[in-house]
């Protein structure tokens, strides 16, 4: 082992904020289905608290021994609409509450899977779950919710798109005292993935095994620092530099994932090759784009820079681990990224540019505060636009916007912690209500005659 390699690793962790962003235990709840809701919830609580009882401690032990921070320990479960649909219950808030209790008992900071998959149509359970979301998120602290409204194979369910606009609004209103915090825990997806370890969109898909461990890595600061050393050099060098550093970051994710799954006695699932920023200085994806040569994220050239970054991270990471999955792409949440916040405040980054950026990276319009009086139809139309980008380009996209009650453009919404703060961004004042009111489905796109 060479001295400079040892010191490089230590510097990456200590100075450049390299960390494992999350280890997420995926738990199938399919065997908890019961026609009696009370019984189902008891089974859910018992199963989660049994399987995940050592998750947090195991994460802490690994942190101690390897000296690498593991920021989050989390749980994802089978979409609750599938579980609760078998019961006669009409309001699923009680299911969210039992997930919240299980999260608190096991010590995880978020549990994902208060979810429904309605890309093609609704079951009764899906309807009830979606209707329960505002109340469920208002009455729980750690539960995350997601709804998949479109897929490349099925097209876009515009009834669900219309409904989710209203649900996002209601969720903001029910959590108005916390500036609409509930919306930070609600993601509307197209092409949702089944093994995503990142919140708020994590759920444990039905194609997954009984219990697995997925890992999400991070490290925007490390990439930024590596690029500082190749200033002025060609894009070939930029791409190679990102690939090499992504390889190293991912190796760490693979190591921690294997170690954790061995200790917990469950199979290792995937490493999600994502660059996940935090509001901390030096942990920003926007700053990487600026290091590539842009004065400010959001200016012309941003989409190309982001496309290169996203692609190079995947190319470097894929060889570093046995199984890649999840979202695997750079995240561009506004409130969680110091550089993005600054770009919005400076007026160089707007919603239109963010939408363009989502065409080349994961995952979508993420953690964006919009005026509290934004009509539900406008939010639905934003969801439809994002879903269209995902469905046509065969990638995951999502919308996680916060119509902050009482706030207008220029105000700031503060969530605190890793959720950061968000300047309220302008949306178009032109109405899309007749478009949203049509309902029905946008058919799946053709995937031939590509041009």
């Amino acid at each position: 082992m060479e001295t400079n390699q040892v010191l490089e690793t230590i510097r990456m962790i200590e100075e450049e904020k390299l960390d494992i962003r999350t280890i997420t235990m995926g738990i199938s709840l399919l065997d908890c289905i019961d026609s009696d809701g009370e019984k189902a919830r008891q089974k859910i609580y018992d199963k989660i608290t049994r399987l995940a009882k050592d998750l947090v401690q195991t994460g802490k032990d690994i942190e101690t021994e390897f000296g690498i921070p593991i920021i989050h320990k989390r749980i994802s479960v089978t979409p609750i609409a599938l579980i609760a649909g078998a019961s006669g219950d009409e309001d699923y808030t009680a299911y969210a509450k039992v997930l919240d209790r299980a999260a608190k008992e096991t010590g995880v900071n978020f549990i994902g899977g208060f979810s429904a998959l309605v890309q093609k149509g609704y079951t009764t359970g899906d309807h009830r779950l979606i209707q329960s979301i505002p109340q469920a998120l208002a009455e729980t602290e750690r539960v995350c919710s997601s709804v998949n409204v479109g897929s490349t194979k099925a097209g876009i369910n515009m009834d669900a798109v219309a409904e989710m606009g209203r649900i996002v609004k209601q969720t903001a209103e029910r959590t108005a005292a916390e500036q609409g915090l509930g919306c930070a825990k609600l993601v509307v997806f197209a092409n949702a993935v089944e093994d995503n370890p990142f919140m708020a969109g994590a759920f444990h898909g039905v194609g997954e095994g009984g219990c697995i461990l997925n890992v999400g890595v991070s490290g925007p600061g490390v990439v930024k620092r590596a690029l500082e050393k190749v200033r002025g050099q060609s894009f070939d060098v930029v791409s190679d530099t990102i690939k090499k550093i992504a390889f190293k970051i991912t190796r760490m994710g693979q190591l921690v994932g294997h170690e954790a799954s061995k200790r917990l006695g469950i199979p290792f699932g995937i490493v999600d090759l994502s660059l996940a920023p935090t509001p901390a200085v030096g942990d920003s994806v926007a700053h990487i784009l600026e290091e590539i040569g842009l004065d400010s994220a959001g200016t012309h050239g941003t989409t190309a820079a982001l496309a290169l970054l996203n692609d190079a991270v995947k190319k470097g990471g894929v060889m570093a681990c046995s199984h890649v999955g999840g979202l695997s792409g750079a995240f561009i949440p506004v409130s969680e990224d110091a550089g993005m916040i600054h770009a919005v405040e400076a007026g160089t980054l707007n919603l239109q540019k963010l939408e363009a950026m989502t065409a080349v990276c994961s995952v979508g319009l993420d953690m964006i505060a919009i005026p509290g009086d934004t009509p539900a139809e406008t939010i639905s139309a934003m969801i439809a636009d994002e879903a269209a980008i995902g469905v046509v380009n065969n990638k995951t996209t999502a919308v996680r916007v916060i119509p902050a009650p009482g706030k207008k453009v220029g105000d700031t919404v503060t969530f605190g912690g890793l959720l950061g703060h968000a300047p309220v961004m302008a949306v178009s004042s032109s109405s899309a209500s007749a478009f949203v009111a049509r309902g029905g489905r946008i058919p799946a796109p053709i995937h031939s005659f590509k041009n």
């Binding site: 082992m1 060479e2 001295t3 040892v6 010191l7 101690t64 021994e65 000296g67 190591l255 170690e259």
Partner: protein
Amino acid sequence: MKAILTVIGKDNVGIIAGVSKQLADLQVNILDVSQTIMNGYFTMIMILDLSASQEKFAGIKKTLADKGAVLNVQIKIQREELFTSMHSI
């Protein structure tokens, strides 16, 4: 279990002696040592074998960190796999 110990700080009399003595007290075997002055800082890396030690990893880590405070250097200990996995294919 193998681990890598790094000691970084201002150069002073007795750093190697102090660290080695502490490791001997913990029944930790030193397999390899490299030491240099880098950018004016004392920098030492040791490869250790912890298998003979009765103490748990967390205990060893704490004892060494405390020793570092006494010697006015930063002492870290991490499992070797972290470094090998990152820097080798």
